[in-house]
Symmetry: C3
Subunit: 345 residues, 3 copies
């Protein structure tokens, strides 16, 4: 990893076209358009930030349409955001651990199977009958309970807890503080309060190319598995209850909670702090706005919002009506007063 | 623990009556009615799942009323859900740790007292003056600060942090990532912004038979104790602020937050993502619907919902009224137009 | 630290005036006014608790105005709450670790720099190129990734995870389970679901005198830094997304979430469970009521509430209007019926 590239090198890396600027211009960093220094490259991907084009200190800007800009160099690509992504890869800082590949303070049960080229940090604990695939990295202090299976190329950050029987596919990223395989919340309630615990016999199954943020909780199933499908991405502090089944390619923003046995299709997008009730079906491509409370099934492709969640246009319509309500009440009172006068008059 | 039982063995275990099926039928697993394989037992406890009775692949079903079903064997019990609970116990998978009872990598202060038959995992840290009761299990990487007291038969999962002075009763389960005894959020605000911290001198006291989910935070009290009563069950990612006092036998669903000094009676039930303000009293048997924002005291046995939380029937009534609001506004506009015409006419 | 003080000693410590009581009265504890024992001191700072003045068992009470009380001793100070704070310091329990200053089970990379008088607990991991300032305490099981910088006098509780490049000022407190430097939630979405991860090249920068509660998540920036300003205090389970910039002296209550690139001024106060959208500006001194959903910029000094958040008086006005809505609908129906009778009559 080097710390500087020429405009031409970057252009080649992102399949771009140099619209202006000297191909030998040296670029030493990547930054947001409004924060960029004089040797930085940035991107402009939305109207919201176009206002900075004229004043940016960046030496180069990545765009998907020709623009006028204070930046000397302009790189044209099909998708500016994707170009930015590729440039971020070029300038990725070195965050590799200074510890040896298998740190001596890690505790690995002999009846577990560790793949090739695996990195295991200090104080990691791997219990019996685990399988860790090739090229996995497991950060300091993480714990794998008995029988945890990790595919290849997984990145488990420090302080992650994968409890007994968790099954994880290939190329999965799990951030610090996340717990998989905690017991689902199930009890036979007793009137006297001495509720009886329902054993949670199932596990958690996470597909390939999944990313799970920090301090999430993914409960194990009562029987069978709580499932998260391939390419689904979870943000931080998310609760996934027992027997939830999440499809492929979903985005779930922070602090969302999904109650037990709910089924979520493919490509569903959740804003933050959404709550979804139990035993609900959210179909493919639905969009759930932030802070919604979903109390019934959501059809494919529908955007819902509010609590209880309704089709978004309806939520907006009701919100607009409520905004007008004080004036409407005044009007009704006037009409009623007029009516009374008539009746009395 | 074996992996298969006969119908008769299961029937005996759950105090059931064989309504149909050969008592010698071999059953090798327990499952949800819709997912069951041909050697599985399942249960049907609600109308919602009765539709699967005709098509289930299960060999046996537990019910509390005679039913027609595709399953060969039918077991009748008083409470199907409780029968299911007992069968889950029979088929509980072996998740025991492969490590020795007191792992050599655990760090236990000599001035702490460890009971009989205790299991302490790798990388556990137990500071001075702790007491760990008999038959406790403490999972890998968990930390007990100075003076933590654990009763007998407690199950502390991996990566739990019990800070100084936490007092825990008997038969308590605490899931991974949970923190007890973090400082309450208390400051003397300063206009200039240099707020002064209020020392949090108190502790956390957890009763018997309590279960606390994953990644919860239970703050210590300013003085005295933050308390969670016997048989109360907390789901994941729950915040309990300083000096909160929760009674016995409560259920609190995920991502609920309870602000400081609030008092909660016995048998109170919370949906998920509820917020309760500080210095509030929620009386025995109240039910707080998911996502409610509780801003004032709740009477015994009352169900509240909404934000601000109101009696649930009132929330429903207001919600229904709001749903009709756009049409009402149209009507008011018509009435007003008529009125104007009259006046002008 | 002793366990008892005379009234006079306490009065001197808090710059108080003894309004009544024997200066030699021995006080052995500090407590809430309603819970106080006969040798305890308490305070009365608000009308809400004034009702306990007549019945408290406390021997002494701190007030900021002369009062009648059952307590023998009365101490007058300018600010009773601040007096209480100082007394809590006097009676702070000893929670010091029993372990040696640098525990042998801690793993500290040789290319890190540890200051003077630092305490590092068992199972702590400190990766390469870290700097830990003087007088820091790092609790058991905490992890510092590569290149983490801690100023002087920081208190890092057990089980904290500070990931690569986190920069922390002086006199900062971070509670257990909190993660700084997890990746921000950024992807180039793909229609087919194979979303591409945006590398998160930035870090987290935390100012001086900041306190962060338990189980929070502070994501690293895409480029540059996610920032938390001096004297800002975060409660538990809070989500701070990538590139958020929080000013000085803010209070943020539990379970609040702030989406990416949002900018928060100085002295902003958040209730619990607030959600703030991305790319929003909340100006100095704004107050965001609990459970608000902030979808647009908030002006300086304004209090907002509700979802979507509006100026608080407007939220109250709309809430009051909605409460009257069922009756208004009745009235409109009557008016309409009268109208119809007229038209038909």
């Amino acid at each position: 990893m080097t710390d500087s590239f020429t405009l031409e090198e970057i252009s080649d890396h992102i399949d771009g076209e140099i619209l202006s600027g000297d191909p030998d211009t040296v670029i030493t960093g990547v930054s947001a358009i409004q924060d960029a220094g004089p040797a930085d490259i940035c991107y402009c991907g939305s109207a919201k930030y176009a206002g900075y084009l004229g004043s940016t200190n960046a030496v180069a800007v990545i765009v998907s349409n020709p623009v006028e800009t204070a930046a000397e160099c302009v790189l044209l690509v099909d998708d500016a955001y994707d170009g930015f992504r590729k440039v971020l890869h070029l300038f990725k800082p070195d965050r590799s651990s200074g510890f040896s590949r298998l740190h001596s303070s890690a505790v690995i049960h002999p009846a577990s199977n560790i793949g090739e080229n695996v990195q295991i940090g200090p104080s990691v604990v791997i219990d019996r009958d685990c399988v860790v695939g090739d090229n996995c990295r497991i950060g300091s202090g993480s714990v794998l309970g008995p029988g945890v299976i990790l595919g290849n190329d997984c990145l488990i950050y420090p302080s992650v807890t994968l409890l007994a029987g968790t099954f994880i596919g290939n190329n999965v990223i799990i951030h610090s503080g996340t717990v998989t395989g905690s017991d689902g919340f199930g009890f036979v309630p007793a009137a006297g309060g001495e509720h009886k615990k329902i054993p949670q016999n199932g596990n958690v199954v996470i597909g390939n190319n999944v990313e799970i943020g920090a301090n999430c909780t993914i409960d194990r199933a009562v029987t069978g598995s709580t499932k998260i499908g391939d390419h689904t991405k979870l943000d931080n502090l998310i609760q996934v209850a027992h027997n939830v089944c999440i499809g492929k390619g979903c985005f779930i923003a922070a602090q969302t909670g999904i109650a037990g046995s709910t089924v979520i299709g493919n490509g569903v997008v959740f804003g933050g702090q959404v709550g979804v009730g139990g035993h609900i079906v959210i179909n493919d491509g639905a969009v759930i706005a932030a802070k919604s409370g979903v109390t019934k099934d959501v059809d494919s492709g529908v955007t819902v919002s509010g609590n209880p969640a309704r089709p978004h246009m309806e939520t907006l319509r009701l919100g607009a009506a409520v905004s007008r309500l004080p004036k409407i009440i005044e009007l009704v009172k006037e009409l009623n007063a007029g009516k009374k006068r008539e009746t009395e008059g």
